[in-house]
Amino acid sequence: MTSGIRFDGVTVRYGDTTVLDALTLTVGPGEVMALLGPSGSGKTTALRAVAGFVQPSAGRVHIGERDVTDLPPYKRGIGMVVQQYALFPHMRVDENVAFGLKARKHPRAEVPGRVAEALEMTGMGAYAKRHPRELSGGQQQRVAIARALAIRPDVLLLDEPLSALDAQLRSGMLAELARLHRELPDVSLLYVTHDQVEALTLADRIAVMDKARLQDCGTPQELYRRPRTEFTASFVGNANLLPVRVAADGVDFAGTALKVPVDGAAPGAAATLCVRPHLVGLGDGPNALRGRISEVQWRGATHRLYVDVGGHRVKADVRELRDTPPLGQEITLHFAPEDAVLLAAGVNDG
């Protein structure tokens, strides 16, 4: 199997603006890679460089063993699904799905079978004779996926494919995409999203992008439990980032000594302590922090407390409280030493 995508120092510039800065990243055959980042982070540019709609100013793009950097899009043999479906409005569903097969001069006799197979796979078999405008958004996106899969690409590019759908439909489609990938284990997926839930749910690995650069890359668990940068910690899982100073066997946070693994950080150095809100508990315990409640949000199963500790805001997600605590109440929080990750300060500034 020779599929997969390799970015080799890919840089994209428009005039003086660098929209993608020396991206080096490998997506293995059959791997699901999510490009996660806020808008303007360069993630869509990276995807478009694979598709061939963006010409890198430097670096090479490989699909499998092939250097495709200088190939036009129609010679790259990739499937692509975009946010707004981009179905051909004057063609029926089956004609849309057949488009790629005909464009690639597929034997005429095989086309109907391949179209039916692709539509069956996405659960749209019953809609073959409809026009796109007669379908709902979710159905149109299924057709767009079927159209991309009909040409049996080695690489499937998905650019915010679920962003135009409402929340409930989105989680259904997410499960559907996961199922499709289990049925097509050899297809590499490059999935661009700004939604961490989509990335955490679907991806084998996540590449976190910000300011045109790759910030971090790892499995969802790695990024979530042991983020390497402040940006990753806050963008994935919205962690508490506490400014601390490294001490002998822990850190000092707003005058409170906390026991956390320091991993050889130099005592006296400034650092950032990352603690997930749902790992912060109420009441006394190891690493206790005293502060006042500045805001309470009820989120159904949980309460999100914002607690002012020595001038810093600490977020805590706790099981739904029977009595909502009043604002200004003094409260004690704690977290286990192993749940904290120490980050060198300013990792993300560059």
Binding site: A51, G52, F53, P72, P73, Y74, K75, R76, G77, I78, G79, M80, V82, Q84, A86, L87, F88, P89, H90, F99, G100, A103, R104, A144, R147, A148, I151, L157
Partner: protein, 286 residues
Amino acid sequence: MASAGATAPPVAAAARRPRSRTVPTWVWALPPVAVLGFVFLYPLGLVVQESLAPGAYADVLASASFRDALVTTVWLAAGATVGCLVLGFALALVVAFVPFPGARAVSRFIDVFLSFPSFLITLALLFVYGTVGMANGLWTGATGAAEGPFHFLTTPWGVLLAEITYFTPFVMRPLLAAFSQLDTAQLEAASSLGARPARIVRRVILPEALPALAAGGSLVLVMCLNEFGIVLFTGAKGVTTLPMLVYSKAILESDYAAACVVAVVNVAISVGLYAVYRVVSRRAGA
């Protein structure tokens, strides 16, 4: 909400009350209708009445000059329309989809071009290809021959060239509007599915441009049928179209009855085609 609902009827009533004291609205329609009737419908009626002179239709419709003019008019108009559609589609494709510096300026210029009088184009062509124009001048200067090789401007082909040059922007305008509505993601999707540019134009762009092509094409067809200035200015003596025939019958031969018959036929064809244009452009949502 309730208070807004309660105040609404008095406001509506107040708005209605002063109107009941004014004159009925249809009165206001009288002056424009009167002016329109006097300056337009009345002369038109006169033309139709004049054409009904005994034997006028039979004479004109049986005459070879009328049939020649009819054939010339129709084939020139049809040919110019086809030419404008092909050229306009190709140029609009380039302007809309090939990124080049000044593409916006070009599409602005097309709007300006529409305001030019038609004879201006013919005049420009005369300067280039006319008997003493630049092309022939270059030729005679280079070869020393007595006259240049370009004489087509006084033939029907010259009229065709001038009409295509002048009317092509009339096709490009609706096309550019249609292309700006086209989702570029569709073109990219087609491209990633393996379609080369030619297939994308044929299978994706053309089907979505059909309504605009039909609207622009029928507009050009109607305008070409009635074109007078271009034919006159090329000085093509052998090219007699229906409007030219009206001119020569009425002004040169003072045969008003015949001129009116030709005019009525011309008007009938134009109005018929205009009706088609309306139907087509309404379906296109223009």
